[in-house]
């Protein structure tokens, strides 16, 4: 079985992990309560989507 010949250096490991970045969520404004929410998802604050009650809040 093929195995790595050398231990990966701390530098290489950290260079690779330096590319792990968090991405900010795209947010939209709820037309009912003006609160920020995920687009195309029911508003977690007022529980409505498209003028309909979806969640119990």
């Amino acid at each position: 079985m093929a195995v790595p010949k050398r231990k990966m250096s701390r530098s290489n490991t950290r260079s690779r992990r330096a590319q792990w970045k968090a991405v900010a969520a795209p947010l939209a404004t709820c037309p009912r309560c003006r609160e920020l929410k995920l687009p195309h998802v029911a508003c977690p604050t007022c529980g409505t989507y498209n003028g309909r009650d979806v969640l119990d809040v």
């Binding site: 995920l38 029911a42 309909r52 979806v54 969640l55």
Partner: protein, 231 residues
Amino acid sequence: MPTPTKGARLGGGPAHERLMLANLATALFEHGRITTTEAKAKRLRPLAERLITFAKRGDLHARRRVMTVVRDKSVVHELFAEIGPRYENRPGGYTRITKVGPRKGDNAPMAVIELVEALTAKAETVREGEAATRRSAKKAPAKKAAASPAETAVAAAETAAAAAEEAADDAAEGDVEGAEQAAAEARAAADAAGAAAEVTDDPKVEEAAGEAEAFADMAEDASDEAKKSAE
């Protein structure tokens, strides 16, 4: 090669997947709306709608086809007795999936899948009418409607001022009927300005309406005085 099913594969094998979908369909018909993951909701939708189509057909063969998926006889009865007839005049699209955001424990995207309301003939015509008005409203610029109340209010205030002047003149000349008529005109103009002010929140419009009101009051006072002096 048969076309693979659209959407995610569920469970550990084909039998597991069938069982999960059957259980989801049973729960959906029992409760009317269920919260599940987006992937499961998307897989459930075609199955549930096919079962409702069987329920609309309503014969024994259709019932036996449904019984191979939904094993609960009471749920199948409810499906054929209530859910099927409810969608008599709806040509498909019996379920609605609404995304409700990620789950707490594992961040899985969740969704609510529910059976939609019955489609009444009235609702259908209303929807058609709404679509027609939307089409026509798109053509007409929306700005016109917003500007007109302000214009009407200002114009009405001017009319009221003119009518008030006329009433005062008539009163000075001793023409009681003319003064009364002019006062009525001023009052009508003031009312129009007030109605326009109610529609909009523009302070200018409200000011104009207030002026019109004052002029109307003046005109009425003048006509009253004319009446008194005539008597």
